[in-house]
Point group: C2
Chain length 177, copies 2
DNA sequence: AAAGTAAGTCAACATGGTTGACGTAAAAGG
DNA sequence: CCTTTTACGTCAACCATGTTGACTTACTTT
């Protein structure tokens, strides 16, 4: 009868553990996006622009469709930010070679510079957390976060201890499914 | 000269590691919020309502100010969702005892039910990821995520290996600072 | 009694999502 | 070759949720 929240009730502990994780995700994401948002505001841009710049920088030559699939927004919504970024010369479009309907997207030098400026904070924040937590913790972090992501997008990442060592290579090669 | 991205260039590896973390955070958060968003849409509510319901459920009797501090939004913005939630009887307000200017917020039974319905998905998603990753990985996950959060909000969490074991207790007791 | 604080309100505006309808050019398939 | 499908773009309307700024009310603190 004593110690209801203790040994006697492992379900309570589990619930508490899960809620802590939910909240940490909220706070981490909130703080993770806070600083770039401030920089962006000073340039008349928003978080949506950051996401586009980030993923175009990360996947040079990416198609509009693939970008839409990553962001999970409509093309009309993407259009607003993307056309702005093209006008302001952060991004260039060029027709696809095999398929000339495609607009392949890449960052300009200006885009690359902004991208680095925006993620500098985020990289530093994570680097510090990684450094303080140690290599083993980092591996656990990757493993758990990987498991939270929808299965279809997991192959984007090479996480030691998950899938084959060719996971990311598979995705890169088999873009057409 | 050979293998520029390999052993010869640890900085590249580090950059890649950090970018993977940035992206995993993005994807995890995207997928983590996706399912509740769908439920909410069916009720004429949005993610903002979910956040309010969550944190009120987690901190019964929380003041409006404290809620604003957690969410980092303005009171005008909170007002819209909060008054809606009160109208729809998900949340009740009662005056503070010591300070009658305060409106202490709690969930109604209806609010509790919605909260559980909304987080059921999220808890299940995390539980599965935890189960598959193992206890050690979970500890690493907590440790790293904890380090990503702004220092001022870290004491909300009890993470083994960080701070004293009384970290969360301290916050709970010392709400007035 | 005066100043400060917790909360609410009204109004105007910005960002970034949505749906729906329609257009154009290129590719793919009968 | 002609039809259908696909990739991308555009116009328009609307909605959710954030912002700033000004002002009010009730209560607490000094």
């Amino acid at each position: 009868m004593v110690d209801v929240k203790g040994i006697a009730n492992p379900l309570f502990l589990r619930e508490e553990e899960l809620r802590q994780a939910i909240e940490m995700l909220f706070f981490a994401y909130r703080d993770f996006t806070g600083e770039p948002d401030t920089i962006l505001a000073g340039l008349g841009l928003g978080r949506a622009h950051h996401r586009v710049i980030y993923f175009v920088g990360r996947n040079p030559g990416i198609t509009v469709s693939e970008l839409l699939r990553i962001l999970r927004i409509t093309k009309q919504s993407l259009s607003r930010v993307l056309s702005h970024l093209v006008e302001e010369q952060y991004i260039v479009q060029r027709p696809g070679e095999r398929d000339r309907r495609q607009r392949l997207l890449s960052l300009t030098q200006r885009g690359v510079e902004l991208e680095r400026r925006l993620t500098a904070n985020q990289r530093e924040r994570i680097a510090t957390a990684f450094r303080n937590a140690g290599a083993e913790a980092v591996q656990g972090f990757n493993l758990v976060l990987h498991g939270i992501i929808d299965p279809e997008d997991r192959p984007r990442f090479d996480v030691p201890g998950v899938g084959g060592p060719t996971a990311a290579a598979r995705l890169k090669a088999g873009g057409k499914r």
